[in-house]
């Protein structure tokens, strides 16, 4: 009985994190981006520096009318936000936060599980793009698909490099194997992984699929109200997942001083720093053009990832 209770509690905690962390990232983005642009950002909602802005946004979205275009494919259109959002929730379950089982659920081949499920999320964008019966949405869907196919490979290769280094596919075990000198050793892989992850999330500077100056909002153009909010939530949940995953794989997760008691804090701190980098990149760089996007993936990231794998293999063999 206590087993069931424990599982339920863990899942509840993961759900809470899933609902809170993306909002935190979103709020941080509001404020950090504003200050990077010399603005203040939201200042009113909630009183103190607009801390409740995203809650207010959520209330607003919930009140809005939920419109399905007449020409749209109703069921696919309505299903798409769930397909986009749920994979990130599932991924969050297996991400280890601290040592000694501080994780929703240990999955043996956790690394593969995470990458596989994250890839599914993009199907939501594709469904939305097709089902909206809107040419801009369709273009957005096409770009999403092209981008996913280009960036999935370097991401996988970089992750494979870590798996080779650790000799395991289980995320907690990868963190346990981590040594400080993995940082320089896996640096290139980490960069490739993080960049490709950004591209998969369609975050700037890789936001060609939702380029608002060209195709309005890509696949999400026709969405309103709560469904639109779910897509946005999926984006920020994606940031959370990507940052935590990069932390776990490349930055040593909970390793740090007093990691026995404060391990979870280290993971969250590193993840927060990465989330800040995500926001920072968005503010600093212009959008890559579609051909630049593709060329960057195929001619820069993939060779780099392959080189990282070769390096990992050589070091592994030599070190043993």
């Amino acid at each position: 009985m206590s087993d069931v209770l424990e599982v339920a509690l863990r899942l509840l905690a993961v759900l809470a994190a899933f609902l809170v962390l993306p909002l935190l990232v979103g709020q941080a983005e509001h404020k950090a981006m504003a200050h990077m642009q010399g603005r203040l950002g939201p200042m009113y909602a909630g009183g103190f520096h607009g801390w409740a802005q995203l809650i207010a946004d959520g209330v607003k979205f919930a009140q809005k009318e939920d419109i399905v275009p007449a020409g749209a494919d109703r069921r696919v259109f309505q299903l798409a936000p769930a397909v986009a959002l749920l994979p990130y929730l599932v991924v969050l379950i297996v991400l280890p936060v601290g040592p000694n089982g501080f994780v929703g659920q240990v999955v043996d081949a956790g690394l593969f599980f995470v990458l596989a499920v994250m890839g599914v999320g993009v199907l939501g964008s594709l469904m939305a793009g097709w089902a909206s019966a809107n040419k801009f949405s369709l273009l957005g869907g096409l770009r999403t698909a092209a981008q996913l196919m280009a960036y999935e490979l370097p991401m996988l290769l970089a992750a494979a490099s870590v798996a080779m280094a650790a000799g395991t596919l289980s995320l907690p075990l990868i963190v346990e194997e981590f040594e400080w000198w993995w940082l320089p050793w896996q640096a290139v892989g980490g960069l490739v992984f993080f960049t490709a992850g950004l591209a998969e999330l369609q975050r700037p500077p890789f936001d060609m699929p939702v380029a608002d100056s060209e195709i309005i909002f890509g696949a999400y153009t026709e969405y309103t109200g709560l469904r639109f909010a779910l897509f946005l939530l999926a984006e920020y949940a994606g940031i959370v997942v990507l940052c935590l995953l990069t932390t776990v794989l490349f930055l040593g997760g909970w390793h740090g001083p007093w990691s026995d008691s404060l391990g979870w804090l280290w993971t969250l701190l590193k993840g927060t720093a990465l989330a800040f980098v995500v926001i920072w990149l968005r503010t600093s760089y212009p959008r890559l053009r579609e051909d630049q996007l593709q060329r960057f993936a195929w001619t820069v990231l993939i060779p780099l990832a392959l080189a990282q794998i070769a390096l990992t293999g050589v070091v592994r063999v030599v070190a043993q």
Partner: protein, 210 residues
Amino acid sequence: MSDDAPRSEPSGTASGRRLPGRGLAKGLAVTLRTMTRRSVTDQYPDALPELPPRSRGVIGLFEENCTVCMLCARECPDWCIYIDSHKETVPATTPGGRERSRNVLDRFAIDFALCMYCGICIEVCPFDALFWSPEFEYAEEDILDLTHERDRLREWMWTVPVPPALDPAGEEPKEVAAARKAAERPDPPEQPGTEPGRPGGRGPRREGEA
């Protein structure tokens, strides 16, 4: 992110590709530096903005100076100035003199729904009856209320700021120069008419403030 600079730039000059990723790092530095500085946002409804003295907010009328010459109404590009007047005869000041006729202002209104804030009326007014005021908070719920009548235009007059001082390195105003010339003439008769202190030749003369 530092290893993706030298791709896809067809005309990379020698200095441009000195260090790959330099531009990317610079971009990050700019945003980070901006973040550490105070933001430039004015919290408007809470804190009023500090407007420069020549802001074009609203037009004030100093009707004592108005002679109903109609120049402003005629020059206005979108015909937003309405002037009504009638003539009055003034009895002769000297016995046996001729009666004078004089224009009396009945209505002076500016429709700020039409006004495009070009300032031509103020420029053409030969008698300094119109002035810019930086006040801008006169939004209305009814567009008809944006037609400010004479009394309202007069109220704006009290908000007209003192004109900014002339640039110390600038040329002397013509009036002052003429007065000085007259004063420096050998054996001058006293010239009480000019005040050398206030170079108020072209700007508003601040009658309203007194």
